[in-house]
């Protein structure tokens, strides 16, 4: 039975159900329990935004607070994954990858290849991404494309609570390292989410809205903004097909190509900076594979090539919005 559940609670439920199903699933990170060794409540926080709240009471020592030491505990999660565990390491903000990137891109991503196919590293690294929290340059980035570039990693960026649950369960059951990106502005958004455990396969994009004039490819929090733009554009007689990539590695290219072959027009909406982004990647792939179908130049809607700013007016300008998406669609539809 489905009921309305928030994105945040959907993540919690996915972890809960997988921990109940499989004893090798363990969760570690700074404050994922919150309060270990402190004089007050043991389970005080349950994650910095409360995403893992309540799991400590059910799973005890399988929920592990860590010292503030990303290299050590992300590396430990990766090492434990090669020894038969299925760790979910929470990195809190994606911006902190800088201090433990070696463990991710040189170790986890490469074991299987370097070791001649003999290693499996079923680790999930959860992290919050994206701007909008007035959290400034060290807590607001969208680094999805950095991980997408690295062979050996899988990269997930859900746009809604239903997908968040199914994709996280898939990530935990997957036998490769997965970077699971959660847009912090989506935590409070709700969707119909089934009670039972279910998976959503990677590399299966969703068609969030069917349309015939312009293909709008988006992901994460940009899906909602693209749908908002599509609603407004429909009133002007422009029919947008909005595609939610859901995963960027592996990525469902076929759904994008089929849509572009139908519409002949492409706008890609991505909250990361434009250079070497998911937007530029999708644009390049479409140019290579659907060139003869294109009736107009491709438009990209990105954050600008600047760090996320603090001041509210600047951050609002930084994040792509429905207005900018509509302008891009109108430019290619003209």
């Amino acid at each position: 039975m489905a009921r309305m559940l928030s994105f945040k609670d959907a993540i919690n439920e996915a972890l809960d159900q997988e921990m109940a199903r499989d004893e090798s699933v363990i969760v570690m990170g700074e404050d994922v329990v919150g309060g270990t060794g402190s004089p007050g409540e043991d389970d005080a926080w349950g994650g910095v935004l409360g995403v893992t709240k309540g799991l400590y009471a059910k799973y005890g020592e399988r929920m592990m607070d860590t010292p503030l030491s990303e290299s050590a505990y992300v590396g430990a999660a990766i090492g434990a994954a090669t020894c038969g565990m299925r760790p979910v390491a929470e990195l809190m903000f994606v911006d902190f990858f800088g201090v433990c990137m070696d463990q991710i891109y040189n170790q986890a991503a490469k074991f299987r290849y370097m070791f001649g196919g003999k290693a499996e590293t079923p680790v999930v690294i959860r992290c919050m991404v994206g701007a909008g929290f007035r959290a400034a340059a060290h807590h607001s980035q969208m680094l999805t494309s950095v991980f997408t570039h690295i062979p050996g990693l899988k990269v997930v960026l859900p746009s809604n609570a239903y997908d968040a649950k199914g994709l996280l369960i898939q990530a935990i059951r997957d036998n490769d390292p997965v970077i699971f990106c959660e847009h912090k502005m989506l935590y409070g958004t709700e969707a119909d989410v089934p009670d039972e455990a279910y998976t959503i396969p990677f590399a299966e994009a969703a068609i969030a809205r069917e349309g015939s004039d312009v293909t709008v490819v988006s992901l994460g929090a940009m899906v909602g903004k693209s749908l908002e733009a599509a609603d407004a554009l429909a009133k002007d007689g422009i029919s947008c097909e909005v595609i939610d990539l859901r995963t960027t590695s592996p990525m469902d290219e076929d759904t994008v190509y089929e849509s572009v072959e139908k519409t002949g027009r492409l706008v890609v909406v991505d909250e990361s900076h434009p250079r070497c982004s998911i937007a530029s990647d999708v644009s390049s792939l479409v140019a290579q594979n659907c060139f003869s179908s294109l009736k107009a130049k491709i438009e990209m809607v990105n954050a600008p090539h600047v760090p996320p700013p603090f001041a509210a007016n600047l951050e609002d300008m930084f994040i792509p919005d429905a207005g900018k998406i509509s302008e891009a669609v109108q430019a290619v539809a003209a």
Partner: protein, 328 residues
């Protein structure tokens, strides 16, 4: 007929130790020669001179115990039981290599024997070992995990963070610093801020011990205590092995940063294989002829490994694209 052994190991065990140390030495001396001839691609970092550490520590482990090695990893592999033919073929970049020719000297790994990999990133093994130790703790199988670093990587944040984490989580982990005096060309005397690694152990709340890494028995005994403590739930330890390498940082290193007679002196006065040989023969436990026989067998094994590695085919071209993911 040998006398009763005054050592903690009996004759048969001592012969096994000697074979391990001699295999490492012969392997490395041969790789040195073959590299100079141009037969081996890439970078190789040789372990010759440090054999007592690998042999003395690994003697206490089973294939269920995990180790994470360094860029100077051949000795750790051999002592952990990785197949010598597979290793040699790997170093030659052949499809018959233990990693199918896709890892090379700096990434030799064999999870079946508990060898989690040599590592091109210095200090990267320490967090991984925390994970292996954590897995052993969850499984309750009394397994231990050992991280090797050199004096250079002992200064890495990953290493220092791992020491802290291992104590906080009370992990069955052992951190071995093989101090051969140099991080590439930079002296440990200069680059390591403390007088003794034992001081660092104390700072991270774990026991620390510094041993003469040229003396197999000193390493064996200290490692034995650390392994026993870890297996019994007593938590992590730090161990420094004061050692020296016979060759440069990598093959091709002119080693002009070393004193003129330093390597000669190492080879004559501090050769761990000569030292253990003298001890066991002087005690009358083993005869020189028995050691010579092992030398001959090891030489034949390494000859055969080189011959087969040279003759082996490179990986099939299709292998370029395989084994990136379990599924994609």
């Amino acid at each position: 007929m040998g006398s009763a052994s005054p050592f903690p190991l009996n004759k048969e065990e001592l012969l096994k130790v000697y074979r391990t140390m001699r295999s490492i030495r012969e392997f490395e001396e041969r790789v040195h020669l073959e590299f100079a001839k141009g037969g081996i691609p890439g970078f190789v970092h040789l372990y010759a001179g440090e054999e007592a550490n690998a042999a003395g520590i690994m003697y206490h482990l089973t294939s269920d115990d995990r180790i994470a090695s360094t860029h100077r990893g051949h000795g750790h592999c051999i002592a952990k039981g990785v197949d010598i033919h597979g290793m040699m073929a790997e170093i030659y970049g052949k499809g018959t290599g233990v990693c199918a020719g896709k890892g090379g000297s700096m990434h030799i790994a064999d999870l079946d024997t508990g060898m989690m990999g040599a590592n091109g990133i210095l200090g990267a093994g320490a967090p991984l070992v925390c994970g292996a130790a954590l897995a052993a703790k969850f499984k309750g199988d009394k397994g231990v995990a050992i991280s090797f670093v050199g004096d250079g990587a002992s200064n890495q944040g990953t290493m220092l963070e791992s020491l802290n984490l291992a104590t906080v989580w009370n992990l069955p982990a052992i951190f071995v610093v093989e101090n051969n005096g140099y991080a590439e060309s930079t002296s440990a005397e200069w680059a390591v801020s403390c007088d003794s690694y034992v001081d660092r152990a104390a700072g991270f709340g774990m026991p620390g011990v510094s041993v003469d890494g040229f003396d197999f028995f000193a390493v064996y005994e200290a490692a034995g205590e650390a392994v026993k403590r870890a297996r019994n739930g007593g938590g992590p330890s730090l161990m420094e092995c004061r050692t020296g390498r016979f060759f440069g940082h990598f093959e091709g290193d002119a080693q002009t940063y070393r004193a003129d007679n330093e390597v000669d002196q190492l080879r004559t006065e501090n050769d761990c294989i000569k030292i253990i040989s003298k001890k066991v023969t002087d005690a009358g436990v083993i005869e020189q002829g028995e050691l010579d026989a092992i030398d001959k067998e090891v030489l034949a094994l390494i000859d055969d490994a080189v011959e087969k590695a040279v003759a082996a085919p490179p990986p099939a071209p299709a292998e370029l694209h395989t084994d990136v993911y379990v599924s994609y």
